[in-house]
Symmetry: C2
């Protein structure tokens, strides 16, 4: 494949954009374990889930047999405002690395929320609106999900309440301001607006919050306020379903030029980007039609796949959410304070956890200084300032390309560039000033939080 | 033209991208007045300009007869990393406004510098590199130009020294950090590193700087350091030449779908975006092949076109740069402190000034609260958080579309969306908090600075 044949950026036409999401679970022999009621330890029913999520999303959450689910026209039209996202051939990076590998990345940062999160935000907001709800509640950590949801709600005229982890609320005032510009109300978490928030504040007066705690607050508000439901930006099956648009577009773009990837790489926090990117490729793999190396990349400071336990666990700190069977570090695990990027969730998508458990994908972890080194190199060569999360995938893509340089193999590498780093410049500043450090949790630390996993028969 | 015929976003293929820039001056009967030596009051020669700018750029600056100038392949390849930029049909905005008008915008914000500035930055850096120079110096106000130049220099391995207006340096640490990530050295201006900076600091110890002052410092450093030249992000003919890539792409995209615009709107500070966007359309108008309404939009707080004087003036505070004949408010004019956006330059491109003087275009000014009102509306409906500068054009595009609603006319409006507002959230916060105010300079204020214009025979 020569430079003249494949353009720098492959854009699909509107006609080529996916008309249905792909539900990876339909092709899994071992289905992901169901969400479980934390009180009864029985699988959550549609009725129980319906108090938290809106009805259509509950259906999607529970459906593990329908391979394709139509994307409603309204969502397809919204997608057309910022999609298709380009599949970029990293010619400049290849040249810099002097590698025979062909490197492609699917760039999801060309929208104001700055990441792939908008793909699911608009879907979740759409179904909430369709159900006649007044609004939705959610949590946000780094702020990408909150921003995406604010945009989607502004577009549809839905109320949007965001519980933002207090440390981010204070350190990222601009993220907060974007959400306000989109009309969302943003509350630092833990807050006095919820019972669970008050309880956490009473127990830990100086706490700067955590994602698990913000989830508990957002869920409480949704459950207690008529006309509101809770929405979540990752982990859930429904989110992976919506994010399959990333992989479907990428696959169509590759097919157009007759390109078959050897390695597919994505960063993994809760799994939304990775699950979306790999969906159609993993589908082929599950059906025995093709083989790919699929690599999940996680931070060494929050290594759910590589050092966690595959077990039922709580998704939130307040322990009011359903239990999920996943690779987890324990719901009380909090990444070291020096951890700069996102990907801080203690668990992982149940779907991806099952696939990893069954040997369909690999996982690796990388330290943050090496991640920022890759980020800066990428910014200078490919002209895009990447989000720290996305840079985990860049790091491993570069490493794999350098291996090809050694072996002379012309492998084709595809990775997910989930977003931009415009709101992560405090972290870049630390890196630029040589003040960034690494931290790998000890076995004892992980064992301590894993010991608190709920006991399930 | 129905929704089904024109896609939401028109992307050109790589083959359709321009291979030459269009030099608008070649088609002007009344050429823009030459830059003038501030000492001799004679037109600047190529030799004189060569001390400040690199040779190929001097040639481009002085060439007012060659209609097309080839874009070197290296620059075309760089363009392919972030261009073509989409020409977007604002279906959602049209629907919201309930207007029969068709609205299109050319969006230049999909690159890390966040604006159209990169189009000229890479060209200027390329010619500096080709001439074997070590580096370039420049000034930056809001920071878009400095970021763009840093990116271009990082890509080519050139040193980059940016003098950043002190108030921006302090209020926009993240802008500064992006430039540092791209390896640039960023100095707050005025500084102790130059003679002109020392002089200004001695005279005005507490000054927070101005664009005119930062220009003086950057020019001084370029002239005094062997192997360095000065580069500028707007105003100059060469910059308008490079920016013609915006208009050329837009025109090709429109032609593809048989669309002929009625009104073309761009914001105007120094004129780089406006001059680039309108270039091929203005060319047709000058050659009598087509007619368009072309509207320059400027801030009411810095109204060079609408309230300035067409005369020779200094481009910088230190009065060391050549004189330019332009619409100007006087080089000592500084916009009111409450002015939040860019577009703060006291003068205007000589090319655009001549065209405006000759009646080929209109100009209008808008107040900033109405600009941010349009910005927020646009963000919520079209999903892009616009730069305050770009939002001047949005304001007038919306106003023109609303006029069409009244008259029932189905006019086609094209406007330039020059960039994103990620680094302008202090201003958005002010707007969100209801703390933004307007200021229109009095006739006396403008007369006072215009009175200081240099006397030219």
């Amino acid at each position: 494949m020569s430079k003249n044949e494949v353009p720098y950026k492959i854009y699909l036409t509107e006609d080529e954009m996916p008309k249905a999401w792909y539900n990876l679970r339909a092709d899994m022999k071992n289905k992901p374990a169901p969400l479980m009621n934390p009180g009864t330890h029985k699988p959550m029913t549609a009725e129980e889930l319906g108090g938290v999520f809106c009805d259509e999303l509950v259906k999607q959450e529970l459906d593990d047999t329908t391979p394709f689910i139509e994307i409603p026209e309204e969502i397809r039209n919204f997608y057309k405002m910022y999609r298709p996202s380009p599949l970029v051939r990293a010619y400049c990076l290849e040249e810099k690395l002097q590698t025979p590998a062909k490197i492609y990345y699917k760039f999801e940062g060309n929208n104001t929320s700055g990441s792939h999160k908008l793909n699911s935000a608009i879907a979740q907001a759409y179904y909430a609106k369709k159900q006649g709800l007044k609004g939705v509640t959610t949590e946000t950590g780094a702020g990408q999900w909150g921003t995406a949801l604010s945009m989607a709600c502004a577009y549809l005229g839905l109320d949007c309440k965001v519980y933002m982890v207090k440390v981010s609320y204070e350190q990222k005032p601009f993220r907060r301001e974007v959400m306000r510009t989109y009309g969302a109300s943003v509350v630092p978490s833990p807050s006095e607006t919820t019972e669970v928030g008050k309880k956490i504040l009473a127990e830990h007066p100086g706490t700067t919050g955590s994602l698990g705690c913000a989830i508990s607050e957002a869920v409480e508000v949704a459950v207690k306020n008529p006309g509101y439901r809770y929405v979540l930006g990752s982990v859930l099956n429904q989110v992976l379903l919506h994010q399959s648009v990333i992989g479907l577009e990428a696959k169509t773009a590759l097919d157009k030029y007759g390109i078959k990837p050897d390695i597919i790489i994505g960063c993994a926090g809760g799994g939304s980007n990775l699950g979306g990117l790999i969906a159609p490729f993993m589908g082929e793999k599950l059906r025995g039609e093709a083989d790919y190396r699929i690599i999940a990349v996680e931070p060494a400071s929050c290594p759910s796949f590589t050092r966690g336990t595959f077990a039922y666990d709580f998704c939130d700190t307040g322990m009011i959410c359903p239990l999920a069977k996943m690779y987890t570090l324990g719901s009380s695990f909090i990444p070291s304070a020096n951890h700069a990027g996102g990907l801080r969730f203690h668990g992982m998508s149940t779907t991806l956890s099952q696939l990893y458990h069954d040997g369909f994908m690999e996982a690796t972890s990388v330290e943050q200084t090496s991640v920022f080194e890759a980020a800066e190199m990428f910014a200078r060569i490919e002209g895009i300032l990447p989000a720290p999360e996305s840079s985990h995938a860049i790091r491993v893509a570069i490493d794999e390309a350098l291996k090809c340089k050694e072996t002379g193999e012309e492998k084709t590498i595809v990775f997910g560039l989930t977003g931009t780093g415009y709101f992560d410049l405090v972290a870049y500043q630390k890196y630029n000033d040589g003040e960034m450090s690494d931290y790998i949790p000890t076995d004892e630390e992980i064992a301590a939080s894993v010991a608190k996993l709920p006991k399930i028969d």
